[in-house]
């Protein structure tokens, strides 16, 4: 289990990844809200991707996020550190995702 501070750091890592020119170009015209829900921390963080930007993450829940990723803090940290792929985490039930298939495939680029 990771701490809330570690989770905040890895979510900042998601934004750094997004800002890379190669990644950014793949999200042209993409306007979606994204929420990470952490089962062990009992909290959520959300952001919005729009106009080629990713807003800073805010703590709390959106009523209806376009993309919802439910996982535990350790799994997300593992993914962002490159120790685990999102697909492997999904395969063994460590991560659940809701949203459109196309959007979820796109989300893999950030993880």
């Amino acid at each position: 289990m990771a701490t809330k501070d570690e989770v905040i750091r890895v979510l900042e890592g998601v934004r750094v990844k997004f800002a890379a020119p190669d990644t950014k170009s793949k999200f042209e015209g993409f306007d979606r809200t994204l929420q990470f829900q952490f089962t062990d921390l009992e909290t959520s963080f959300h952001t919005r991707i729009h106009d080629g930007m990713m807003d800073p993450f805010s703590e709390g829940e959106l009523e209806k996020p376009n993309l919802l990723v439910t996982t535990d803090s350790g799994t997300l940290v593992g993914i962002m550190q490159g120790n685990l792929s999102p697909l492997d985490a999904y395969s063994v039930g460590k991560l659940k995702a809701k949203g459109s298939m196309t959007d979820l495939l796109k989300l893999q680029i950030l993880m």
Binding site: S85, L87, V92, K98, G99, M101, T102, L105
Partner: protein
């Protein structure tokens, strides 16, 4: 005839005919529409066409769907209906049909193909010839080229099967034809069951140490997550190959990459990957001694036929008031 069934799975016409005896069928094959529905999107579709039941393959049938519409049943053209929220289906008394073993023969075929491809250096040979670099002007060059492509027969090899279920068992059966020595590791299968298909039960370490080809056929679960890691790969002979047509989560892919890069094992045949869909940027493509396929184990016409007939026959039984064979949540029928 009031019932309407939405089918987004690939479905054979013979299966459609069976279902059309009971309902109006709206067939929108995801391979043709190129669209996969996920949760609420699927709910919108079901509501728009007033469907009473749905048969999916790639789409996700989430809690939103079960809460949003009273479905008569859900069919999942998968070995394990992972994309269907079974808990929610059960809570809403919706039976979920699925298709265990639908792709077992196809995956077993591909597994044997990958073993053979590795045994005969098929990819290495093909890549070399296509490279334009093979120009033979002397006996010495011919001998050197020919020697570099020396393979091995399966009849004098040992294949280790991890997981002797529907697919692993079929791989063992196919290998009998080659006269291969087959070992298996599976805590859920006893020695006698293995003997029936000429497979010897062993411990994992023995299997890893003695096999020339090791092939994975377990499900991805928290228990099997990375069951093949650095330690297990180190048990392999340097001449041995690893084949994975199951799930990438079973193996520590980074450790496998390193073992191949360092030449600690002879090669691999990989149909499943930690990053999918697989494109030309797959890192294992850099190795000539690795055969890479993009998760095509179950991608045959026969699987479409089999999944259609398993589901249509079972739904037919259910609608006639008979007991279906493959229900993911049989308690739904017991309680009704």
């Amino acid at each position: 005839m009031s019932m309407r069934i939405l089918i987004t799975a690939s479905f054979h016409e013979d299966g459609l005919k069976i279902l059309q005896q009971h309902a109006t069928v709206i067939h929108e094959d995801w391979r043709i529409t190129r669209h996969v529905y996920w949760g609420e999107e699927l709910l919108d579709k079901i509501q728009a066409i007033k469907a009473d039941a749905v048969i999916v393959e790639a789409d996700a049938v989430t809690e939103d769907v079960f809460e949003g519409v009273p479905l008569k049943f859900v069919g999942s053209a998968r070995d394990s209906p992972k994309e269907v929220d079974i808990e929610s289906a059960t809570a809403h008394s919706v039976p979920v049909f699925y298709t265990p073993g639908r792709n077992a023969d196809s995956v077993a075929d591909l597994t044997v193909l990958l073993i053979l491809a590795q045994a005969r250096k098929l990819i290495t040979t093909d890549r070399l010839l296509r490279s334009g670099k093979v120009i033979i002007n002397s006996t010495e060059e011919f001998a050197s080229f020919h020697d570099s492509l020396k393979g091995q027969e399966l009849g004098r090899s040992t294949v280790g099967i991890i997981g002797l279920g529907q697919i692993g068992g079929r791989v063992a059966q196919r290998l009998q034809g080659f006269g291969t020595r087959v070992l298996f590791y599976d805590p859920h299968v006893n020695k006698e069951q293995g003997i029936q298909i000429n497979a010897e039960k062993t411990e994992l370490e023995t299997l890893m140490r003695e096999s020339d080809f090791i092939t994975l056929h377990t499900q991805a679960t928290p228990e099997t997550f990375r069951m093949i890691g650095k330690e297990q790969l180190a048990w392999m002979k340097p001449t041995a190959h690893l084949i994975n047509t199951a799930r990438s989560a079973i193996i520590d892919e980074n450790a496998l990459f390193e073992a191949i890069q360092m030449g600690r094992i002879a090669g691999a045949g990989l149909d499943v990957h930690s990053r999918e869909p697989v494109g030309s940027d797959n890192r294992f493509l850099q190795f000539d001694n690795v055969t890479v396929t993009p998760h095509i184990g179950g991608n045959t016409l026969d699987v479409v036929y089999r999944q259609s007939m398993i589901l249509a026959s079972d739904i037919d039984r259910f609608l006639k008031g008979e007991t279906p064979k493959y229900l993911a949540n049989p308690e739904v029928l017991k309680s009704s």
